[in-house]
């Protein structure tokens, strides 16, 4: 049998193992890359403004990072299924205001207000989910719409006023700042949330199904995975976590107006994308998203310390998104080409 044609194109074993190992290496490289970037920022900014390296500032960084991270965890579960939620910033802002307002007007006590805030987040997420799964509106259009609807509701409810720290009970304000064994509650909470999410994504059947849906939606249907239900669930989770972040936002900043958390969605998406969560779905980790949040939170703090306008942050968010997605695509097509050359088709 004449097989010389194929023999020349047969994949070389060594090459193949190298390919597999390299793919794993790339994932590690990304996490390393973020840590390196963090180190660079710390050094450069620390030299310019030593205050950056102080313990209290470090705590501020962690608090910012924690808020971003909580929302990023929710966004990760959505992005894994090949969707996106642009409305998270508006959800955080709306929940922060509503929670504060409920406390200010003495409508509810602290536990009640917190619950209400979380429930609001969950409800808003569920509405997103319904529009996307039942309404069959593409996630980008749906959440672009709800970004403005939710923010608009915020303005409607706020009516130009704001909730100030003095209007709020201390027990609420202390949630973010108080410490548990020396570490601020907010940070602990973020860490616990991330840990739980990471566990569920890795060790629960539902978590693995989220990956499957994003990786190959048609195969997922064939295997009998209830994609619509799971996507709905992912948006509910995303809304819930954004709501939680909203409650904590109010606690941390005290003063909240209708503009709160504006633009947060871009920060969160940048965090998720730079952390290695594939925008096409199917791969990515909570750890990566958290590292991404760390990077972006640190950048935000650095900008403040250096007295650079916060407007730089938006430019950086955009640049990060473009670079991260572009690099991912470049790596993928590079490997695709290698694969085509060493194996048939």
């Amino acid at each position: 049998m004449d097989r010389t044609v194929e023999a020349q194109f047969a994949p070389r074993l060594a090459g193949r193992i190298g390919l597999e190992r390299t793919l794993a290496l790339v994932a590690r490289l990304r996490e390393l890359g973020i840590l390196v970037a963090l180190a660079v920022i710390v050094v450069v900014v620390g030299v310019q403004a030593p205050r950056f390296l102080s313990v209290s500032n470090f705590e501020q960084i962690l608090l910012s990072v924690s808020l971003i991270a909580i929302v990023a965890v929710g966004q990760t579960s959505v992005v894994l299924t090949r969707n996106v939620d642009l409305s998270v910033g508006s959800v955080v802002g709306l929940v922060a205001f509503v929670t504060g307002d409920l406390l200010k007007e003495h409508v509810l006590g602290v536990p009640g207000a917190i619950l209400a805030g979380c429930a609001l987040g969950l409800g808003l997420g569920a509405l997103n989910g319904l529009i996307i799964t039942v309404g069959r509106v593409p996630a980008i259009v749906a959440t672009l719409g709800t970004l403005y609807v939710y923010r608009g509701l915020d303005f409607l409810i706020a009516g130009g006023k704001q909730v100030s720290a003095i209007d709020l009970p201390n027990s609420y304000l202390r949630i973010a700042s108080s410490s548990v064994i020396g570490i601020p509650t907010l940070i602990v909470f973020a860490a616990v949330t991330a840990a739980i999410a990471a566990y569920l994504l890795r060790y629960s059947g539902t978590g693995r199904e989220l990956y499957a849906i994003g990786s190959n939606p048609t195969a997922a249907e064939l295997v009998g995975i209830p994609a619509q239900r799971l996507v709905f669930g992912a948006f509910v989770i995303c809304g819930l976590l954004a709501g939680v972040a909203g409650v904590l936002w109010g606690s941390r900043f005290g003063t909240v107006n209708a503009f709160a958390a504006g633009g947060l969605e871009l920060q969160v998406i940048a965090a998720v994308v730079v952390g290695g969560v594939n925008i096409f779905g199917g791969s990515g980790t909570v750890l990566g998203a958290v590292l991404g949040a760390a990077l972006l939170g640190t950048i935000e703090n650095a900008l403040r310390i250096l007295h650079l306008s916060q407007f730089w942050l938006q430019a950086i968010d955009g640049a990060v998104i473009l670079l991260a997605v572009g690099t991912d695509a470049a790596i993928r097509s590079y490997f695709q080409r290698i694969l085509m050359r060493t194996g048939r088709r």
Partner: protein, 498 residues
């Protein structure tokens, strides 16, 4: 003699006007490798899809272990222990091998969480049983097609499948990988699995199969134990049909060389392809699916790029880097898949016909709809397109008429070289003859034509010369007088001599 595992009795399946399967009786025995052979379009893929539960037969019965069954979908087939491996693996690229094998059935520990160590251990165990060293913790994305296939097989094994159907599994494999696959298939057979193996390559079929069935035009025309058949007989069963004189080929004087291909190579797909086409000549490209014919056409048309070799049009070596270039240089392509690539279904007939030359049909940017209409009517008349008018949407036409519109579209660009890829697939008999008449007339008027076709009677009826591709190489060339169905099929399936 063992009891049959899986039986089809009188199974028929129709898709619109096309009878894909006609009254097929097929029996699969446990512990046996049963090969299904046939030309392209004989109905093999449809049969596999019926077995997989993807299609429901229009008539006939399926029985498994004596129980009659109705497969409502792929999941139902899987639950009954019927594992099907399609030509294209349908895996999750981002999940690792082990997870792909056990997707939906991941092993859990006492707390209910996924037990990854157990998962990897079990997956490794499966691959050890298959005698393959494959790392189970790597994402499937990085694997070659051959390895992905192994993952599918492992999946079937893990489901304890009693029936395993494989659709053209060796199409993308190298020699060594095929041997590895066959060893595994023999193991499965020895363990009592009923294996059905769809394959083109007779050498392989005769090496691995215990029983062979031949499909032709949707009917099962022969089934026998391998020992009782020879390759030559098998080929005769595959193609044996009366050659109706449906194709009134007009004589055409061969003119200058219009298209010359020299040493054209695309790594991993085809190699060292050299041929010439003169004006007025019809050169047929025969061969099995995957032999490289469509791939050559795509390179000629600028969709893909060659790694080596030259394409000369009218004696000049030219770079064709995009379909736009190709059209400009006078070489056009009627694609295999007319719905995906040939037509904009929502557009009218006229809009489809004018699409490549719509700029030329415009004056000061404005499309001259009068000219467009006239042009379309002209071609519709010449090609006898049956429609309510050239304003009708292409989606409303029958397959044959749609194909005529695609051809008309290209004729309007006044090409030098016309490449047709399976031009009468899915087209009914009457329209087939009309398309052939058109092709013949075009050649008579001096066009250089490359006809890619899996329908041997069509190739024999139309072509002045037939090039047979096998595994990416031009394996033989036949003149019109010496070409026979058996001869072509023998070369296409890699079987030399009888």
């Amino acid at each position: 003699m063992s009891e049959p595992n899986f039986e089809l009795r009188g199974v028929s399946k129709r898709f619109g006007a096309v009878h894909a399967l006609r009254d097929v009786d097929l029996v699969l025995f446990p512990g046996e490798v049963h090969a299904l052979v046939g030309e392209n379009g004989a109905g093999k893929s449809t049969l596999v899809k019926v077995l997989a539960g993807v299609h429901q037969p229009d008539s006939g019965r399926l029985t498994l272990n004596g129980q009659e069954l109705v497969l409502r979908g792929p999941a139902a087939a899987r639950d009954l222990g019927i594992a099907v491996i399609h030509q294209q693996p349908n895996l999750f690229p981002d999940l690792d091998v082990a997870e792909n094998v056990f997707v939906g059935r991941l092993p859990r520990n006492r707390l209910g969480s996924v037990n990854w160590r157990d998962l990897h251990r079990r997956a490794e165990g499966l691959f050890t049983r298959l005698g393959v060293a494959l790392r189970v913790s790597v994402p499937v994305r990085g694997l070659s097609v051959a390895d992905q296939q192994l993952v599918e097989i492992a999946k079937a094994l893990s489901l304890d499948a009693r029936v395993l159907v494989m659709d053209e599994p060796t199409a993308a494999l190298s020699g060594r990988e095929v041997e590895r696959l066959f060893t595994i298939v023999r193991q499965l057979r020895d363990r009592g699995v009923a294996v059905m193996f769809v394959d083109h390559r007779l050498e392989e079929v005769f090496e691995i199969a215990d029983r062979i069935s031949v499909l032709r035009d949707g009917r099962l025309v022969a089934t026998a134990v391998t020992a009782d058949l020879t390759p030559a007989e098998t080929i005769r069963y595959m193609v044996g049909r009366q050659l109706e004189s449906l194709f009134p080929k007009e004589p055409a004087a061969a003119g200058d060389v219009a298209l010359e291909v020299r040493g054209l190579t695309r790594n991993g797909v085809f190699r060292d392809v050299t041929f010439q086409v003169r004006r007025g000549e019809i050169v047929g490209l025969a061969g099995l699916i995957g032999a490289g014919r469509t791939e050559i056409a795509r390179v000629l048309f600028g969709i893909d790029h060659a790694d080596a070799g030259e394409v000369l049009l009218g004696g000049r070596s030219l770079a064709v880097n995009s379909p736009a270039d190709a059209v400009r240089l006078g070489i056009v392509y009627v694609p295999e898949d007319r719905h995906e690539h040939g037509l904009v279904l929502d557009f009218s007939i006229a809009a489809n016909i004018s699409l490549p030359i719509v700029e030329r049909l415009s004056r000061l940017l404005v499309i001259d709809r009068g000219r467009e209409h006239e042009l379309a009517e002209d071609y519709a008349r010449q090609l006898q397109v049956r429609a309510t008018g050239v304003g009708q949407a292409a989606s409303g036409l029958s397959g044959g008429n749609q194909q005529k519109v695609v051809i008309a579209k290209w004729l309007a660009t006044r090409p030098t070289v016309l490449v047709l890829d399976e031009p009468t697939r899915g087209v009914d008999i009457g329209a087939k003859a009309e398309v052939h008449r058109i092709i013949s007339q075009l050649a008579a008027r001096g066009m250089a034509i490359v006809l890619i076709s899996s329908e041997l009677p069509e190739v024999l009826g139309m072509a002045d010369r037939v090039l047979v591709l096998h595994e990416g190489r031009v394996a033989a060339e036949f003149g019109r007088e010496e070409a026979t169905q058996e001869g072509i099929m023998a070369v296409a399936t890699g079987h030399h001599g009888s």
